[in-house]
Amino acid sequence: MMFGWLQGRGLARLSLLVATLAAAIPATAGESEQTSGVGPARGSSAACGDFMRMAGVQAPELAFVACKSLEIHGLPAFRAEYRVAGAQAGEVEALLTKRAQMPPLRYLCCGWESQPADPAHQSPAGSLTIGGNRFEVSMTSGETMVNRRGDWAKIPVFEVYVVRYLD
């Protein structure tokens, strides 16, 4: 696999990778976005920022990338974005399942995502409370054919999102 080189490398290389990917990956089509520093929006008393830090979640493997103002599921939202290398993704998953009750990642055609066993009836995301407001927490590998947990190191990065809806 082309991404196997990441396995066992240090956090300095991860930071470099995150910076490189942040520059290389284009913004999602259809999202009108603004990056961190965005001020309070309609119905909001908080600014867009590093929500993990605001919630007191400590995860050195997790690199904060940006906070964006987007529309998600038809609602305006702030989304703080984080990345973790595949080799360390299991540690972050364990932390977030415990701290935010995020569903563990499942492999579904065709990638890893934090979906509950019965997504039609169970909460599709974990949650954190900051200043009395609810923030949703999710994690995904993006599309990949790496379908075994033991091979997560072959996946270059996993994305972690913390979302505050502004409705």
């Binding site: 089509a29 579904l108 609810r134 993006g142 599309e143 379908n147």
Partner: protein
């Protein structure tokens, strides 16, 4: 909208194919298009409603009055399941994905649903337990939940008209891990590789409901894959 009981349907959704309602505990619950709701009342700038069908049946949610005007309307889904026919075609090694910039080994097939034609792949991931669906007829359920946008968002780079890509339709087969969805990779799913056709395919499916409301379509798979395992 005047207060009081009123039946409405989710007639519009966000670009990703879903719209969120808010529960009393602050959780946001995603609803797919044509979900049926009963409007209870409007107060303080929010409209309160109950979900009447789908996986979230019985949920009591709210939405800002403005969003209710945007997303809810009077149009119900069509009665009866849509009919999907998938006919096996060639197995192609080295099929090139422009979006992924990867050569993939695809068991291809052609799909027809309610007058919409599309090319699909029935398996891409070989030697790890996945295989193309056997010939037969299967129920296709209403979408279970939004699937990660990172799985499909970047297909928009090569198909700018692609929307509603976070809507996946579960196929009732074996461990229920297979879906009708958009993309270039299949783990035994019916994956629509005609990316520009996905909005039409999605609407053809989501706009139908079986009599019990649980399914959007019946899927009939015809023929034999050139590569079975």
């Amino acid at each position: 909208m005047a207060p009081g009981p009123s039946i409405r349907y989710v007639n519009a959704v966000g670009q990703d194919g879903w719209v969120n309602g808010r529960a009393n505990d602050g959780a946001f619950i995603p609803l797919c298009k044509y979900t049926k709701v009963n409007i209870a009342e409007s107060k303080g700038g929010r409209t309160y409603f109950e979900v009447l069908d789908g996986g979230r049946r019985g949920a009591k949610l709210s939405m800002s009055d403005g969003n209710v005007s945007t997303y809810f309307g009077p149009n119900p889904p069509r009665k009866g399941a849509a009919k999907i026919t998938v006919k096996y075609g060639r197995y192609v090694e080295g099929w090139y994905s422009t979006a992924r910039k990867l050569s993939l080994n695809q068991q291809l097939a052609s799909m027809a649903v309610e007058g919409v034609q599309a090319d699909v792949t029935m398996n891409t991931n070989w030697g790890v337990g996945y295989y193309p669906l056997p010939a037969g007829t299967y129920n296709v359920g209403t979408p279970d939940a939004p699937h990660a946008g990172d799985m499909t968002n970047y297909y928009r780079a090569v198909a700018p008209s692609l929307i509603h890509d976070q809507v996946w339709f579960p196929i009732q087969f074996a461990d229920k891990s297979r879906y009708v969805h958009v993309g270039n990779i299949s783990d035994g799913c019916v994956t629509v590789i005609s990316l520009e056709q996905w909005p039409k395919v999605c609407e053809a499916l989501i706009s139908h409901r079986s009599d019990d409301g649980a399914y959007v379509a019946t899927l009939t798979v015809i023929g034999t894959p050139e590569r079975a395992r």
